[in-house]
């Protein structure tokens, strides 16, 4: 319990927010998305990632409702200050615009051909750029959700894709020539996000078992 000397509202808000995400569901869901995307790259069926993204939205909310809410309770967080909302919206828009511009430019060049040296650079490092961009998106998701574990996943992503790129270069392979290696890097990252998520979920289920007394919540 609090004493009047130690009321730190920011800390309380952070603690409540973190506890609501300590069920590991966001990690499991994101990990599965990355894994499906990796499988899609290897099997050349990238749409698999899109299918999972569609399942993600509906499935996440219902899992939260059936796993987290009965154990931990329900909370609706304030949507943040106006300036915070703007910063997040601007960041998200900025990243989306950058990713969109990158993909559009690359595909235009790929189909129309371009003598530009930038095109050569992108072609040489396409997977590394895509991997680093993906890692940045993971970090951004962590920032938006306020889940710091995602910063670690983003750093792991940077390491995995950089190492993957260096392995290709050291083997004398032309980057972009092995979708299996690139897909495997994505699979490893997905597994590294998924595994802690499962551990966090198990810990959550053990820490907050369903109790009959908690039904009181509905009856008060």
């Amino acid at each position: 319990m609090l004493g009047e000397g130690d009321i730190d509202l920011k800390r309380i808000e952070r603690k409540m927010y973190t506890s609501y995400h300590q069920d590991g569901l966001i990690d499991i869901w994101s990990g599965l998305f990355v894994v499906f995307f990796g499988i899609g790259i290897i099997t050349e069926m990238v749409w698999l990632g899109g299918v999972w993204a569609a399942i993600f939205v509906a499935g996440y909310a219902s899992l939260k409702k059936s796993i987290t809410m009965p154990r931990l309770g329900y909370v609706e967080f304030a949507s943040g200050s106006k300036s915070q909302r703007w910063v997040r919206l601007l960041l998200l828009s900025g990243v989306l615009v950058l990713v969109g511009a990158f993909v559009a430019t690359t595909f235009t060049w790929l189909f129309n051909g371009s003598p530009s040296p930038i095109f050569g650079f992108i072609r040489q490092n396409f997977e590394l750029i895509l991997g680093l961009g993906g890692s940045a998106v993971i970090g951004l998701v962590g920032y938006i959700l306020g889940v710091r574990r995602f910063y670690i996943y983003a750093i792991l992503g940077v390491l995995i894709f950089t190492v993957g790129h260096l392995v290709l270069v050291s083997l004398g392979l032309f980057p972009g020539s092995s979708s299996t290696l690139f897909g495997s890097s994505i699979l490893v990252l997905g597994a590294l996000i998924l595994a802690p998520g499962l551990v966090v979920l198990l810990r959550f289920l053990r820490r907050y078992p369903l109790k009959k007394g908690d039904r009181l919540n509905d009856e008060i």
């Binding site: 609090l2 309770g73 909370v75 907050y208």
Partner: protein, 109 residues
């Protein structure tokens, strides 16, 4: 002379402290509700570490003072009770915090 006058002034601030909020359990509940839009009993119970009985009794007092509003609704055909801080409760908590900060700031180091 001036020093003792200041001390009397400090004590005046303490006299104005809202005693309903000053109780540690209620202060904890209000602090938790202040940072969210709404929460239910179960979530508050986990966050505050209070028992069902304690939580229910303190919430009752806060509701009677008009600081907390209890909303009963049906989610997926199940009854669900959520708690919100009223504008009055929000102002009272803010006022309490300001007064306590004044007192703490004036403490000799």
């Amino acid at each position: 002379m001036t020093r003792s006058k200041n001390r009397v002034k400090d004590l005046k601030v303490l006299e104005d402290i809202d005693r309903l909020i000053h109780e540690p359990a209620r202060l904890t509940i209000l602090a938790h509700l202040y940072v969210v839009e709404s929460a239910d009993f179960l979530f508050l119970k986990h966050q505050t570490g209070l028992t069902w009985g304690n939580l229910s009794s303190h919430i009752g007092k806060l509701e009677a003072a008009g600081y907390v509003r209890i909303k009963k609704q049906f989610i997926d055909k199940k009854p669900h009770t959520t708690l919100h801080l009223t504008d009055e409760g929000r102002d009272a908590f803010k006022g309490y915090m300001q007064k306590m900060r004044q007192v703490i700031d004036r403490l000799p180091r």
